[in-house]
């Protein structure tokens, strides 16, 4: 069990934050291109799911699995998107992503008058708090 990486996007598709922990493979794109591709994929999955759904739904897309990783997705009502990739055996991290939003993002980014809306986060305290929170998660085990 491990956490690979975390992306935070705002509602316009700007990548506010990215960090990786135990990532083994890189996509071969520049980081900016990768953010665009990730946001585009999430955006398309959302529209795909809303058209494909045979029944009415509340939250829509929450996660997908491939043979090697699981992508978890959480969107706030204001359009902030939290995307975390973990190993397959992590069941659901909805509460953890919600915690990152409410206790870390709101506290250290939204309430920080120096951080600008819609700009990548450069708050040092947010980064360290997030890093120690992720490293403290029960399913975060450093692999070699």
């Amino acid at each position: 069990m491990t956490v690979f990486n975390l992306y935070i996007f705002d509602r316009n598709g700007v990548c506010l934050f990215y960090q990786e922990w135990n990532r083994h493979k890189h996509s071969g794109l520049s980081q900016e291109e990768e953010f665009k591709l990730m946001y585009g994929m999430i955006f398309s999955i959302k529209s795909f799911v809303s058209r494909m759904a045979p029944v009415d739904f509340k939250d829509g897309f929450t996660s997908f699995c491939t043979s090697a990783y699981k992508l978890h997705f959480h969107e706030t009502a204001s359009g902030l998107k939290f995307v975390m990739n973990t190993s397959l055996n992590v069941i659901s991290i909805k509460d953890e992503l919600q915690y990152i939003y409410s206790a870390l993002f709101v506290e250290h980014v939204v309430r920080n008058p120096l951080s600008k809306l819609g700009q990548p986060i450069d708050s040092h305290i947010f980064k360290t708090k997030l890093d120690s929170y992720i490293r403290g998660l029960p399913f975060f085990i450093r692999s070699t």
Partner: protein, 219 residues
């Protein structure tokens, strides 16, 4: 516990087979007086609810019928425009039927090729080595299961999130595809599947899986 539908996509991302197994009814009919408490808009040549959820009518539902008459796109069958009818106070009280829009064949083909590229992107953005594309896509109301065979055909099942035994069903369907579509001398590869035997066997496989999956064969 239900299996909603099955899709088969060829190597190029073309939809070659699609079957709806159980489609839950989401229709609501209600009589309104003037003015209408819902906000409607035209989206994709359909009249869609954009604001004002009430009485089981959800945002995203389209107008399916007015006063018992069917609605085609943004017009009634006799050519009257839906929005004009709703804007005219003389037509009230008015009974409007709302529901989830049914997908047209063209939309299904588009969605299938969209999934084909999402599958590839999911593979490219992997943080781990040797990842496949999307195998299970979860939402709170349904789960999409996808199996890519060695020959590149994608089999997709939309099912209830609690439905068990879907992986076994996917393998069964690939068997049915190999036996009754590929071995049919009149079937040309990568073309839409129109084989009766394929259809009946697929139907039987889905039904038996639905029955056995009821008892919770796991996830």
């Amino acid at each position: 516990m239900t299996i909603y539908s099955v899709y088969v996509i060829n190597r190029a991302g073309g939809l070659i087979y699609q079957m709806d197994h159980t489609m839950p009814k989401t229709e609501v009919e209600k009589t309104f007086s003037f003015p209408l408490e819902l906000t409607l808009k035209i989206y994709d040549e359909r009249v869609v609810v954009s604001f004002g959820q009430r009485d089981g009518i959800k945002v995203g539902h389209t107008i399916l019928g007015i006063n018992g008459e069917l609605v085609r796109g943004r017009q009634l069958e006799d050519g009257r425009d839906v929005l004009e009818m709703i804007a005219n106070p003389d037509n009230y009280p008015i009974a409007i039927k709302f529901g989830r829009p049914k997908l047209s064949t063209n939309e299904r083909i588009m969605l299938a090729s969209m999934f084909h590229s999402l599958y590839a992107i999911g593979c490219q953005l992997s943080p781990e080595m040797k990842s496949s594309g999307i195998q299970v896509l979860e939402t709170d109301s349904f789960k999409l299961h996808c199996l890519q065979t060695h020959t590149g055909i994608k089999l997709i099942i939309l099912a209830d999130p609690r439905q068990g035994g879907v992986d076994a069903l996917l393998r069964k369907i690939s068997e049915v595809y190999a036996d009754f579509a590929l071995k049919n001398p009149f079937y040309s590869i990568d073309m839409p599947i129109r084989c009766d035997l394929f259809e009946t066997n697929l139907q039987a496989a889905v039904e038996s899986s639905e029955r056995s999956g009821m008892y919770g064969a796991g996830i």
